[in-house]
Structures are given as C-alpha cells and as structure tokens.
C-alpha cells in the first residue's frame, strides 16, 4: 500500500542526490545522539532498557504459574487429531537454532542411548534394540511456537512402553533429554506417558533423514515443536527441574497444545 506520507509527485532525482550528504550527516548525528543517551540510560539503571529485571522476573513468575495451569488443562486421555497418510508433508519441515547446512549426521551403528536417574536398568540402548520393541505410528500436526504448522507421519516406540521396559519410576516429575546437537529438553511425566509421545525412528515409511534427527528423536502430538529434541543421545528420569535450550532463553517450559 502506498504510504500517505509519500508526496504525490516524486521529486526529481537530482534534488535528492544534491541533498544526500546533508541527510546522511543528520541521520548519523541522530544515531550517535540516540545511541549515547540510550547507552547512558542503560548504564544508569544497570539493566536492559527494553526488559528491566523486575519486569523480567514478574513475567517469568507468571510463565511458571502458566506451566501449572497448562498441566491442569492437559488431559492425559485426550488424543490429538490424526490425519490420513496422504497428507504427510515430504520431506518434513526443518527447523532448529541453526541452519540445515550445519546439521552433523549421527552414525546409527555407534549410536547409543544413555540412561540415568530414577531408572532400574540403566544399560545403554542400541538402535537395533529399539527397533525390536513394539512400534506405533501417528500422522499428526506439528505446530511451531512461531505460528506455522504441517502434517507429519512418525513411527517408533511409545515413550511409555520404553519407560516401563527400563523400569523407570513413573511417579517422577520429569523426563529429560540430551542430544547430539546440544539441545537439552525436558517434559512432564504425564506427557511422557501419553500414547502420542514417541521415540520416533521413522518418518513416513522411511528411517528418519539426517536433518530430522536420525537415528532417534522425540515426537509428541501434545507439545509445541520446540519441545521435540532431535538426535536424542541420553534420557534421564528425575524430580529436579531440568529446563531446556529455549526455556533458558525465556520460552515457556510446559508448551502444551
């Protein structure tokens, strides 16, 4: 749309060229002045101008309160809508805190899943062992906190099945994950035991492709995209709040759908 502040008749280009140095110097001076006063204000208050400490901690306190409300709203028996396999987006949409060209593939042969915390049998798992467990499939909507969404088809081992298999304490509060791309994450036990929470090994009919977390990633139908770590290398069951990559940067922890 045309801006109402633009003149009806565009001035001659020569006029603009004539005044260019003057406009430049004005902008530069304004920028320096603005930068100085903004900087000194920040130094005076000793904190971020945009986000003072008191405001930040109040917002985080409400965010933690909202985590509790979201846990109450979460119905462990409520299933997310599923879709026909024909609607699966191929390939899946890649998203991470870095570009797809920086993905470092993981070797499936040497890959191990390390276990720790409130688990009876902490022996590490191989990909073959996971493939030997009963497999489940789901075609679900991936919803990103940014607003976009797509339909993906995931297969693998239900996390509930896996946790029972290794003798995890199912009354613990959290299940935490570590990954090959340094993207720690954690979820509540209720979501971990939800039937649409998978340790996913396949997308569509194929093993996971490298950018999407080969050999194993977490995939949940009931949480926002950023709660689903790829290239999972370690799993811990704990009662101590583990946090996560985006959570440490201010994003909400529960992030339930």
């Amino acid at each position: 749309m045309k801006s109402p502040f633009r003149p009806e008749v565009i001035p001659d280009k020569a006029v603009l060229d004539d005044h260019k140095p003057l406009i430049r110097s004005l902008e530069r001076r304004g920028l320096i002045r603005g930068g100085l006063s903004l900087g000194s204000l920040a130094m005076l208050t000793g904190c971020d101008v945009e986000r003072p400490d008191a405001v930040e901690s109040a917002l985080l306190a409400i965010s933690r309160f909202n985590d509790g409300v979201q846990a109450l709203l979460f119905d462990p028996r409520k299933l997310a809508p599923t879709y026909p396999a024909s609607m699966i987006l191929r390939p899946a949409k890649f998203n991470a805190y870095y570009d797809v060209t920086e993905v470092k593939p993981v070797n499936g042969e040497s890959w191990r899943l390390d276990l720790s915390g409130l688990i009876a049998d902490k022996r590490p798992w191989t990909l073959g062992q996971l493939q030997a467990l009963p497999q489940s499939s789901m075609v679900i909507k991936h919803i990103c906190v940014e607003g976009w969404s797509y339909i993906g088809g995931w297969s693998g081992v239900r996390l509930a099945t896996f946790l029972e298999h290794i003798g995890a304490d199912l009354r613990a509060k959290y299940v935490a994950f570590k990954t090959a791309d340094d993207y720690p994450s954690s979820i509540d036990m209720a979501t971990a035991l939800h039937p649409q929470t998978l340790l996913a090994l396949r997308y569509g009919d194929e093993p996971l492709a490298d950018p999407f977390g080969f050999p194993v990633r977490l995939r949940m139908a009931t949480k926002l995209g950023y709660k689903n770590p790829k290239w999972v290398t370690a799993l811990e069951v704990t009662n101590t709040y583990p946090g996560g990559f985006w959570e440490e940067r201010g994003f909400p922890w529960f992030a339930g759908l």
């Binding site: 971020d48 945009e50 986000r51 930040e56 109040a58 917002l59 985080l60 409400i62 965010s63 909202n66 979201q70 709203l73 979460f74 119905d75 409520k78 997310a80 809508p81 909507k141 919803i143 990103c144 906190v145 940014e146 607003g147 976009w148 969404s149 139908a221 009931t222 985006w246 940067r249 201010g250 994003f251 909400p252 339930g256 759908l257």
Partner: protein, 229 residues
C-alpha cells in the same frame, strides 16, 4: 417499542441518587482493560512477526512489546489473565446492573442512518455525553463481541489439542490464527476511532477519569436526544 424504550430508563431512575455516568467499578475496569488490551495487541504484534500472515508485512520494533518472540509471548500469556478476569468482571457487572442494556440498547436502524449522515457532515458534537448515539452503541457492541472472540480464538491456538473441537469449528489451526489476527484488527480499528473521538470531545475522557456528570434527577432521556441535531 415503548416498553423497550422504557425499560432502560426505569433502571436508571431506580438507581441510587447521585450515581455518576461512569461508576468507580466501570472506570477501574475501563483502564485495566485499556492497559491489558495494549499489552495484548503490541505483544501479539511481536509474536506475529515470526510467521507473518500478510506477506511482506511486519511490525517495526517501536510497535512491539518484548524485545524478541520469547518475551512477546511471555507478555501475551501474562496479559491474557488481566484481560480475561477484568473482561469477565465487566460483563458480569454490566449484565447484573443492567448497564449494558441501558447504555447499548435499543439500536434503531433509522437513528443509525441519521447518525452516520450527520457524522459525514461533520456534525459530531456531543450535547449529552450520558447517552450514546446509535453508531456509538453499535461500535461498543462490536468491540465487546470482538474481545470475546479474541479469547475464544486465542484459546483455540493456545491449546489446539485440548480444545480440538473448537479448532475444527473455527476451520482448523491456521484459520483460527487468521481469525485471531482479524479480531485484533477490528479492535485496533475501534481503538483508533474511540481514542480520536475521546480527544475531540475531551469531556468524555475526563468523565472516564472522574466519573462524569451525575445522572440522578435527570429528565427521562429520549433515545434520540443524545446525538447532534
């Protein structure tokens, strides 16, 4: 028609003597809502930028609350409590005291047309700020409904699995998002008109701070006597 006209005036004459145009609870709820709405709108603009709905259209940093998406989200999820709790209190108060019906009904088509024509002729003087003209009534009803719609569509995009029935009623997750955006646009459109008129007729702004003129003892108002003639 006479009965419909008499009902609100009966309610206002039964009110305690000396009641002001905007009783204290209304004034508090108005300004809490104003702050909450601004927080919701400007933090929503910060969230919007990460996945734009209108291609090529983003909100500049001056207009956004929160220096990046995480903090815009935190503002939005904090502001929502103030908006919802205050909005519920307003609706309960408005229905219980009869204020909503008294101030916003009835709306007559002929009066609506008349007021629009007057406004187009720049006759927008408010002789009596205690009575809303048909256009005002309609705009207030629209913005109250838009506010309720924002809570419903907001709930759908916040919890699309827990409220999956609501989401499919709204035509899916992405269409619920677009509806949430349209609801914002309606409210912002209202705000522009509302603030401009309050500044043009500063008595109305002062009334929302101090309470405005006392209503007791006033002659039975005729619904069409409020707007400019």
């Amino acid at each position: 028609m006479d009965q419909a006209k008499d009902a609100p005036t009966a309610a206002s004459s039964a009110a305690p003597a000396g009641r002001r145009l905007h009783p204290l609870p209304i004034r508090i709820m108005h300004w809490v809502n104003a702050a909450a709405m601004l927080v919701m709108i400007t933090s929503g603009w910060g969230i919007y930028n990460d996945d734009v709905i209108i291609r090529g259209f983003i909100f500049g940093s001056f207009w956004r609350l929160g220096d990046w998406a995480a903090w815009s989200l935190n503002w939005h999820f904090a502001g929502m409590w103030f908006l919802v709790v205050n909005g519920l209190a307003y609706l309960i108060y408005g229905f219980a005291t009869g204020r909503l019906r008294e101030k916003l009904l009835p709306i007559r088509m002929s009066e609506l047309v008349h007021t629009v024509i007057d406004t187009l002729h720049f006759k927008i003087a408010h002789d009596d700020i205690t009575i809303y003209n048909a256009v005002q009534k309609l705009l207030y009803i629209i913005v109250i409904l838009a506010g309720i719609a924002q809570v419903v569509t907001g709930l759908a995009i916040w919890k699309p699995v827990q409220f999956s029935g609501l989401v499919s009623l709204l035509g899916g997750f992405q269409s619920a998002r677009v509806l949430h955006f349209i609801g914002m646009a309606v409210i912002v459109g209202f705000l522009v008109v509302h603030v401009a008129l309050a500044l043009l007729v500063p008595r109305t702004l002062w009334a929302m701070l101090s309470g405005g003129p006392r209503l007791a003892g006033r002659k039975e108002p005729h619904p069409s006597s409020g707007h400019a003639t």
